[in-house]
């Protein structure tokens, strides 16, 4: 037995609002977290994948016989063999468009053509070289807008089947096109809104594909039990969703599929919904042995990406800065398979008008199949792309009208009671406070520091809002053990965000016990109750509430049991400090464990279910998009090197609304992590393709930020509800969406140049500066460009 020293204070009764260390901090630092990546099963096979070298091709012939003969190879899966197995062949969380291995066609460079299960990785790798494939190359399309044009190469000749997985997802598709989903939002009459405007602004903004780069890659182990049950260990953010999809594919009752998830080594959205579980389970079925499938770093880049976007945004405004209308077209490249694009393009779509009172709004958001790696959830979920467009344009509008950019926003920002783009009435929104505070933190309205020679200093702000998936459901169970310690059963996935600690803290508070008296069980669909997903910054709120309900249920049961022992009515019994006592007599009660022992119950099981309601009209996008809105403001001060285009962030401050911070220390870490991720995507992260072939699919050629890249000053503050009893918001994503626009606006402030394409590389900045110098004499930072010059 290893005894370890924990942080002091964790054995004292904890409360919500207390700054606690991560529940698994010691394990993380000592490398003792049992990641799925480290799991081995007796007799397991290892898998390697043959991938398409072509962006779009028909498979004329595939011959695996050479691979079959390689000693140590247990099974080789190809399209024709898949068709003979008598299981479902295609999967997808919303649209069943992805074959377990390619059947007739490949749709991107990296599409899985065949899989080898062998005694070790080297053998599997060697066998790949003995699979003969004949391709007939087809024309390919890599841009979402081009893919929507008539005559574009079609990824799917007929529409793949679709099912209603989640209540909020509405799918509009059209046969004979590459449209994956079209989200429509219609509020008021934009023609009228533009007629009422004094000025119109029309711009196009774009963002590139980016990669999540979780430290731990996608990993799945699959094993079939002798009784026909399927057991899957998967590094997934969505064990229950994976279970449902596996049950459907393998025609099993859900109760006969077990999905287990350990702590993930990072995810950022990359591990949401079904990925490689069907392939691992199919190989295990065919080979009759357990298998382990781990993606290499290069393969991670091909599995899932951030949606490249192009957003056309037209805004009408009165001379006093009142916004009258916004009309927006968003094109999202979904890549070769839908994954969660049908939802993401909706959420990005309704976020795109921004957090403003605008009477007339029209949004058309198109998710489009292209011959690129699939795109899916990525921290921020469409909001970063949407606000990059909207928040840069708002800044330009302010400058054109001669109004301070903060002031223009303050005049239009949503307040409690205002109608959002979806017409839902906003409640508990705090944009004005967040923006004012963020701006003040970078010295807005005060003189700027003198730049060094050849440099220019500027400041920028941005605001953003992001929904949380609605409706949604979380179920939790809380067990009070015989000694009074607490077991929380939850399918929320710990992926570095600290969810386990948050849930432990919420449960511990109810019983008045220490953090170290609570265990939170890892998701196991045989044991832990249903949860929709660990996505959308929903766990603290949704699962946190379910855990709170379950703990209250358990406490009520304890009160009933103790009533007889203490000769009091259950309503008069309190639970605190791990003890049960009659109100007013804390010294005369019993420890929780004694109640369970003396009533011979041994254990109490509390149950909690939390369901939220909402939904949008399929034709107008009007309704309730979110049970509550994550919202943030970001502010940056930058120094631009006018000779190199290099931008240094002198200060960055983020303000987020949290309602109530369960663990302020964790909250701060989430905010800082969000900003750092946002800075990488702002300045340099970009997956680059050459005819559909990824050219920088490794961590030497694709950079992510390091601690050396942090701004001179990086600060964050969260705002809590003044009542002290606000709804606890998740913070996984809130601070991400404003980052790029706040930086872009600061560069605009410093130099007068507006860059509309991410990332903001030094070269891109220098090209814009040179274009500006060529066009006219150097502009002062306070110039106001008239629309005609834009």
């Amino acid at each position: 037995m290893v005894l370890r020293e924990r942080e002091p204070g964790t054995s004292a009764p904890v409360v919500v609002g207390q700054a606690l260390p991560y529940l698994d901090a010691v394990e993380r630092v000592t490398g003792a977290v049992p990641y799925t990546l480290n799991l081995e099963l007796p007799g397991m096979l290892h898998v390697k994948l043959l991938r398409s070298p072509h962006p779009h091709a028909r498979i004329r012939r595939i011959d695996p016989s050479g691979a079959d003969r390689v000693p140590g190879v247990a099974y080789v899966l190809t399209g024709p063999r898949l068709l003979e197995l008598g299981i479902g062949t295609h999967y997808g969380v919303v649209i069943q468009d992805k074959p377990i291995v390619a059947i007739d066609k490949v749709r991107y460079v990296g599409d899985i053509v065949a899989a080898v299960a062998a005694v070790d990785e080297d053998t599997a790798l060697e066998a790949l070289e003995h699979i003969a494939v004949e391709y007939e190359e087809l024309p390919a399309v890599f841009d979402a807008e081009e893919a929507l044009r008539p005559g574009a190469p079609l990824l799917f000749e007929t529409l793949p089947p679709q099912r209603q997985t989640f209540a909020d997802i509405i799918v509009h598709r059209a046969e004979g096109t590459n449209l994956c989903n079209h989200f429509k939002l219609r509020k008021g009459d934009v023609a009228q809104g533009f007629a009422e405007a004094d000025e119109l602004f029309e711009d196009v903004y774009s963002t590139p594909a980016a990669q999540h780069c979780p430290l731990e890659p996608h990993v799945v182990l699959a094993q079939w039990e002798p009784d026909g049950r399927l057991v899957v260990w998967s590094a997934t953010q969505t064990p229950y969703s994976v279970r449902a999809d596996l049950a459907e594919l393998f025609r099993l009752p859900q109760a006969k599929v077990r999905v287990l998830t350990a702590t993930l080594g990072g995810a950022y959205g990359a591990k949401s919904y079904i990925h490689l579980e069907p392939l691992a389970a199919t190989l295990a079925l065919a080979a009759r042995r357990p298998v382990k499938l781990v993606l290499s770093r290069q393969e991670e880049f091909l599995e899932i990406t951030k949606h490249p976007s192009r957003i056309y945004i037209r805004t009408g405004v009165k001379r006093d800065g009142t916004l009258t209308a916004r009309e927006i077209r968003c094109y999202w490249s979904a890549g070769a398979y839908a994954d969660i694009s049908p939802r993401l393009i909706k959420n990005g779509g309704y976020a795109s008008p921004g957090p403003y009172r605008i009477p007339h709004i029209k949004v058309d958001s198109y998710g489009v199949y292209t011959n690129l790696p699939p795109a899916g959830a990525f921290r921020g979920y469409g909001a970063p792309q949407a606000h990059w467009a909207g928040e840069c344009q708002i800044d330009d509008i302010a400058r054109a009208l001669g109004i301070d950019p903060v002031e223009l926003r303050l005049r239009n920002l949503l307040r409690d009671g205002d109608a959002f783009a979806t017409s839902e009435q906003m409640h508990d929104v705090h944009f004005h406070e967040l923006l004012r505070e963020a701006a003040a933190k970078v010295g807005w309205g005060t003189p700027k520091p003198a730049p060094r020679p050849g440099k220019a200093i500027g400041r920028g702000v941005a605001v953003a809002l992001k929904s949380t998936v609605t409706p949604s459901t979380s179920v939790a169970a809380v067990r009070v053990e015989a000694d009074g310690s607490i077991t929380v059963l939850s399918s929320t996935v710990e992926m570095g965000q600290g969810a386990k600690g948050i849930l432990a803290q919420i449960a511990a508070e109810k019983f008045g016990v220490g953090y170290d008296r609570v265990r939170v069980v890892d998701p196991d669909t045989d044991i832990t109750p249903y949860d929709q997903s660990t996505t959308s910054s929903r766990s603290t709120f949704s699962m946190g509430t379910a855990v709170q309900y379950a703990a209250e249920d358990a406490c009520n049961q304890l009160r009933e049991l103790a009533a007889g022992l203490l000769e009091a009515a259950p309503g008069d019994i309190e639970i605190a400090g791990g003890r049960v006592f009659v109100k007013g007599s804390p010294d005369q009660g019993l420890p929780i464990g004694h109640v369970l022992a003396r009533t011979r119950r041994q254990q109490v099981l509390g149950h909690g279910t939390f369901v939220t309601e909402g939904g949008l009209d399929p034709e107008t996008g009007q309704g309730v998009a979110a049970v509550h809105w994550h919202h943030a403001a970001g502010a940056a001060e930058v120094e631009v090197d006018l000779e190199t285009g290099q931008v240094e962030v002198l200060r960055y401050h983020t303000e987020v609304y949290v309602g109530r911070a369960v663990n302020p220390r964790n909250a701060r870490l989430q905010n800082e992590g969000s900003v750092i991720l946002g800075l990488g995507q702002t300045f340099f992260e970009e997956m680059r393709y050459d005819d559909g072939q990824l050219v920088n699919g490794n961590l030497a050629d694709y950079m992510i930020p390091s601690f050396e890249d942090l701004p001179g000053s990086l600060s964050s503050r969260f705002v809590e509800h003044p009542s002290g009893r606000g709804e606890a918001h998740g913070l996984g994503e809130t601070a991400v969406p404003p980052v790029a626009a706040a930086i872009g606006n600061a560069i605009r402030d410093a130099t007068g140049v507006r860059i509309r394409d991410l990332p903001l590389t030094p070269e891109r900045v220098l090209r814009a500066l040179e274009a500006q110098r060529a066009a006219r004499p150097p502009a002062a930072s306070s110039d106001h460009q008239a629309q005609g010059e834009r």
Binding site: D122, L125, E126, S296, Q298, E643, T644, Q646, G680, F683, F684, R688, V695, N696, N698, A700, D701, M703, I704, P705, S706, E708, D709, T761, P762, E763, L766
Partner: protein
């Protein structure tokens, strides 16, 4: 893919193994570059000749006043950057090593491997050339020294013979009036390889006039670039912004830069024009005057 690790017990034996296996063998030291190439399947050697079993003293750093610095090929970059004699006598070299990648890479990567890899986008080679460094290489029977400037021949190509192993990096004793500086310019993360790197080594007389100037621009072509005609512009001149700009312009005109993921040729050309004068300003800046090399 069967990869056999060969474990020679001496440098001569390692050289003989190179001669024996030719292109089928690669020498591995720290492995930070080689393992990436293996993983990305850019190379597929049958043998890896490990230098880690070699008994010869390849991990030592020797500095002798008047005779200069000798760094064994297997010295980790992080150790060179910390070595008291290097920090004292060659501070620009210590700074340059400090700017390579990140601390984890620097403890694995070696000063010798850094040279033999001959990656065009690397920091130390430009400064080592500016300091007049040589490498010592050993074949099965004989050893020789090669100036680094001649050692680098093209992208990932060196003058190392097919039966030779690099054993030492040699940096001459810096003259008392030598000042050196390396300016690393990255366009992405600070851990990135350079988009452009400018190394400068300058000597000036008591009146402040340049008596010797070397400017080496790295990461812009297959090998670090020197433009002697441009260096010559400084001879007998005092530092001045117009002089530095003239040298920068001459470098930008003379070099035909590459395009890669860190910057286009268009951009690199402009950056040479901007960064050469900046590096010259840094090396002649009064505040860096006390810093020595």
């Amino acid at each position: 893919m069967d990869l056999e690790i060969l474990t020679p017990s001496s440098v001569a034996e390692a050289a003989a193994l190179r001669a024996e296996h030719g292109d089928e063998a690669k020498v591995i030291a720290g492995g930070t570059a080689l393992v990436l190439m293996l993983r990305n399947r850019l190379i597929a050697p049958r043998y890896l000749i490990s230098l880690n079993t070699v008994a010869d003293p390849l991990r030592e750093i020797h500095y002798q006043p008047g005779r200069g610095l000798r760094m064994g090929a297997l010295v980790p970059i992080a150790r060179a950057e910390r070595h008291p004699a290097i920090r004292e006598r060659y501070p620009a070299l210590a700074d340059t090593y400090h700017q390579v990648a990140n601390i984890r890479v620097r403890w694995a990567a070696t000063v010798g491997g850094n040279c033999t890899e001959a990656d065009y986008a690397s920091d130390p080679p430009a400064l080592l050339i500016a300091l007049g460094a040589r490498v010592r290489v050993q074949g099965p029977t004989a050893a020789r020294e090669i100036p680094l400037e001649a050692f680098f021949q093209d992208f990932y190509e060196t003058a190392l013979g097919p039966d030779e192993v690099l054993t030492e990096v040699l940096v001459p004793e810096p003259p008392p009036d030598l000042r050196a500086h390396y300016l690393k310019f990255v366009t992405r993360s600070s851990e990135d390889r350079p988009c452009v790197g400018v190394a400068v080594a300058a000597r000036r007389d008591a009146a402040g006039r340049f008596t010797d100037l070397r400017v080496v621009v790295g990461a812009v072509a297959g090998t670090p670039q020197r433009v002697p005609e441009a260096e010559a512009l400084a001879r007998g001149e005092r530092p001045s912004p117009p002089l530095f700009q003239a040298i920068g312009d001459a470098y930008a005109r003379a070099i035909d830069p590459i395009d890669d993921i860190r910057g286009s040729a268009w951009y690199r050309q402009r950056m040479i024009r901007v960064l050469v004068p900046r590096a010259l300003a840094a090396v002649t800046d009064a505040t860096s005057e006390q810093r020595g090399v």
